[in-house]
Each structure stands twice: as structure tokens, then as C-alpha cells.
């Protein structure tokens, strides 16, 4: 019997593996809320990810611990990235514990972001709940940077309580602008809060927009997005112009591991930003 043939010489696959993290350095860490920090990071060597578009996310890697999907809150042409991380478990705790000078792994950018170009020529309603603001932040800036392309711009930001609001100082500067209406509301508050109280949908009747010509971007916990999208649809915003950013368990972020499936969509690849009209039939069924 013949022996197995000797292996062909070249066995190394030369490309860097698509799932390999690229090292970045932490520049600064800001505390947003008791359980949330904002990390500003920049490439530590020549390799860097492509510049993310508003609504895209990265996989952030804490050495020896693992990876988490984290939305891009800001991206500069120089390659600097801003991510806001809430501590909820293993990886996010490790990420939130990073200090300036530490290394964090990054791969991305992934997914489809907010279709800002599609919203041109009409009004825009942005509804953010809690940590839904970070992924919407670059969309708001993109809209404001080409303000004349849009009609009225309404931003509604809701959180559970005043201490859960992120980007507090930035919100104050947004509120002073005259070319965008920014409403903030919390589910409940103490006497020291002078703003609005009520779930985020209670702010919608006050928002001024022309429903049939409106595009809406919604991001937050799933139930908040569902309720907001329904309220927008009830006001007459076309369901296919309501966009929501879905969240699902993610392992690969490149459409290979199957974890993020929601109905026919791979949230990592086809989303995270998806049309409400396409999602609604599945959101109406439990545990899809």
C-alpha cells in the first residue's frame, strides 16, 4: 500500500484572519453614568479599520477575555474611535476597566448603518433610548453637517432616570441649537430634575414633523423601539421609512456564526439598522 502523499509546501494562509483583532491604544476614558464609560481609542500601529459610517459597530476585544459588539459613537478621519460601553458582564466589565495607555483589540466596521441619504428632502425624527444614543450620535452630526438637505429635525432622547443619561454636556449644547429640536425625557425622576418625565413615546405628540415625508431613526431597547416605531406609524410615518437598530447575540459579526439571526436577517450583516416594515411581522411573534 502506498503511503499518504507528502504535503505540498505552502501551507500558511497569508491573509490576516478576518476575525483577528487589531491593537488600538486607549487615549481617554470618561465616566458617563455609574455603569457606563466612553473610551476614545486610536490605532497603535499602521493597521487600522476602515472609517465607520454612522450606525455601524465594531467588535472590541479585551485581551484574554473576549469580544463584544459596540456601536461607533464617533470616528475621525485620523482613525480615532469613540465607543460608549455599559458594564453588564464579562467582556464589557473588562472594557470599562481599561485605562489610558492600555491596549484594546478592534475589528470592524460591521453592518449597515443609518440610511441618512434616504432621509434627505424630508423631516427627520430621531428617537434614542438609553444607550441607543451613542449609535445615533454620528447620524445626528451627519444630518447637522448638511442641515439644509433636511426639513425639520427632531431628536427625542429618553432614559430610565436622569442619572442614566449619557453625553450630558453635549446634550446641553444640542438643546441650545435652533436648527434641531432636542427633547429629553426620563421614565421617572426626583425633585432635582426639571426636565420632562414620561416614557419616550409621550414626547412624540410634541414633535413637529410632516409624517408622510418623515424618516425616523430609532435605537434603544427592543421594546422601546417597537413602541416608538408603532407610535410613529400611528402618526402616519410610512413603516418603510422607520429604521430601527436591532441587537442580537453576536460572535463573528461577518455573517458566519449564525448567532444573530432574526427571521431572515443576519443582524450583523443585513443590519443592525433595519426597516421596521420588514421587522414588524417578526417583532409581533415572541422569541423569534
Amino acid at each position: 500500500m502506498l503511503a499518504d502523499p507528502s504535503p505540498p509546501a505552502a501551507a500558511i494562509d497569508p491573509e490576516p484572519p478576518p476575525l483577528a483583532p487589531i491593537p488600538y491604544v486607549v487615549r481617554s476614558v470618561t465616566t458617563e453614568t455609574p455603569d457606563t464609560v466612553t473610551l476614545t481609542i486610536r490605532p497603535s500601529a499602521t493597521r487600522r479599520i476602515a472609517t465607520p459610517r454612522p450606525g455601524q459597530f465594531n467588535m472590541l476585544y479585551a485581551f484574554g477575555v473576549g469580544e463584544s459588539a459596540i456601536s461607533v459613537s464617533r470616528a475621525t478621519p485620523e482613525g480615532e474611535l469613540v465607543h460608549t460601553v455599559r458594564r453588564v458582564g464579562k467582556v464589557t466589565n473588562a472594557l470599562a476597566a481599561l485605562t489610558p495607555g492600555d491596549t484594546v483589540g478592534v475589528r470592524g466596521p460591521y453592518g449597515r448603518g443609518w440610511p441618512i441619504a434616504e432621509a434627505r428632502g424630508g423631516d427627520v425624527v430621531v428617537i434614542a433610548g438609553g444607550l441607543g444614543l451613542p449609535p445615533l450620535r454620528p447620524a445626528v452630526y451627519a444630518i447637522l453637517s448638511q442641515r439644509e438637505s433636511f426639513g425639520r429635525v427632531e431628536v427625542i432622547y429618553g432614559a430610565r432616570s436622569p442619572k442614566d443619561l449619557v453625553y450630558y454636556d453635549e446634550i446641553q449644547t444640542w438643546r441650545r441649537r435652533t436648527d434641531v429640536r432636542f427633547q429629553t425625557t426620563v421614565d421617572a425622576a426626583g425633585r432635582d430634575w426639571y426636565g420632562d418625565v414620561g416614557v419616550v413615546t409621550t414626547r412624540l405628540p410634541d414633535a413637529r414633523f410632516d409624517p408622510p415625508k418623515t424618516t425616523a431613526f430609532v435605537c434603544g431597547p427592543e421594546i422601546m423601539m417597537t413602541l416608538s416605531a408603532k407610535a410613529l406609524a400611528d402618526r402616519g410615518v410610512p413603516r418603510d421609512r422607520i429604521w430601527v437598530s436591532m441587537e442580537r447575540n453576536m460572535k463573528c459579526a461577518i455573517g458566519l456564526c449564525g448567532h444573530c439571526q432574526f427571521g431572515p436577517s443576519f443582524v450583523c450583516r443585513d443590519g443592525p439598522v433595519l426597516r421596521f416594515s420588514a421587522l414588524e411581522p417578526f417583532l409581533a411573534v415572541k422569541e423569534v
Binding site: 444607550l131 425622576a189 425633585r191 418625565v197
Partner: protein, 156 residues
């Protein structure tokens, strides 16, 4: 019934979303016992547990609906602004406020006389029905918001 109400009060009530489009006679009747009032920031419009004999139509400002207990800080569960209303305790026994209503900004409101309005509505069932058709959705919406609050939509 008392003297004719001031015409601007009639107009303000008729323009408020709760009454807009209802029978002008009902509006005039409601206005006849109504008062317009200003509240400074911090003023109480209603106090939990006390007799509820008013329905407030908010014209300007902002009112916080607060609940509190001795063992925890006061919690605002909702704020109410122009075009909205405060109070339905005047409508149903035992006619007691279920929360504190506190102005968080200088606030102007029309204060309707609850018992008088109840009396009018029960004497004119057609008015009563039309009014309830307006009023119940407000209550339903409040309940819906409470439900959403209970869902704790920001909990992750």
C-alpha cells in the same frame, strides 16, 4: 346658574383639546364655574389624599405628577404640559387626589369645578357621553404609559 363667564375663558376652554368641538353650551356651563390661575414653580396644584374637586386644563408651563412615601424620595412619574390635563379623581369616588401635582415651571391653568361639572354632565347625558368619549382616551393613554413604565423599557 351663576353669571355669564368671561368670554376669554370660554374661548380658552373651547380651544383646549379636551373640549374642542364639544357642545358650546357645555363649554359655557363649564366656564361659568371655572377660574384661570397662575402657579409659580414649586407650587402644589393638588395634594395626594386631599379632596379632589378640580380638573385642571394646562395652558402654559409644566406640571410634575409626583408620588411619594415616607421611606423613599419623592418620584416624578410624569410631566404634563400645555394642552394636557391634570386630574380625574374629581370624577370618581372617593374623590381624592392620587398624587401630588407640582408646577416645575411658572404655569397657567384653567381650574374647572369638579362637582359642578359632574352635576352638569349627569343632568345632560348626551354631553356626559361626548365628554367621556374625550376623557377616557386620556385615562387610557395614562394607563398605557404606566404600563410602558412598568415594562422598564430601558432595562437591559
Amino acid at each position: 346658574m351663576s353669571a355669564a363667564p368671561p368670554p376669554d375663558l370660554v374661548g380658552e376652554i373651547a380651544n383646549h383639546p379636551l373640549f374642542a368641538g364639544l357642545d358650546p353650551k357645555l363649554v359655557r356651563s363649564a366656564a361659568s364655574t371655572a377660574q384661570e390661575r397662575e402657579f409659580a414653580a414649586g407650587d402644589l396644584l393638588a395634594r395626594e389624599g386631599t379632596t379632589a374637586d378640580t380638573l385642571l386644563l394646562i395652558l402654559r408651563g409644566k406640571v410634575a405628577l409626583e408620588v411619594g412615601a415616607a421611606d423613599r424620595p419623592t418620584l416624578t412619574v410624569q410631566t404634563v404640559g400645555p394642552g394636557e390635563v391634570v386630574g380625574w379623581s374629581w370624577f370618581v369616588p372617593p374623590f381624592r387626589w392620587r398624587f401630588d401635582a407640582r408646577a416645575v415651571k411658572p404655569t397657567r391653568a384653567i381650574v374647572l369645578n369638579g362637582p359642578a361639572l359632574r352635576e352638569t354632565l349627569s343632568r345632560h347625558p348626551a354631553w356626559g357621553f361626548a365628554f367621556l368619549v374625550r376623557f377616557l382616551p386620556l385615562i387610557a393613554e395614562r394607563l398605557e404609559n404606566t404600563r410602558i413604565q412598568l415594562l422598564d423599557i430601558h432595562a437591559r
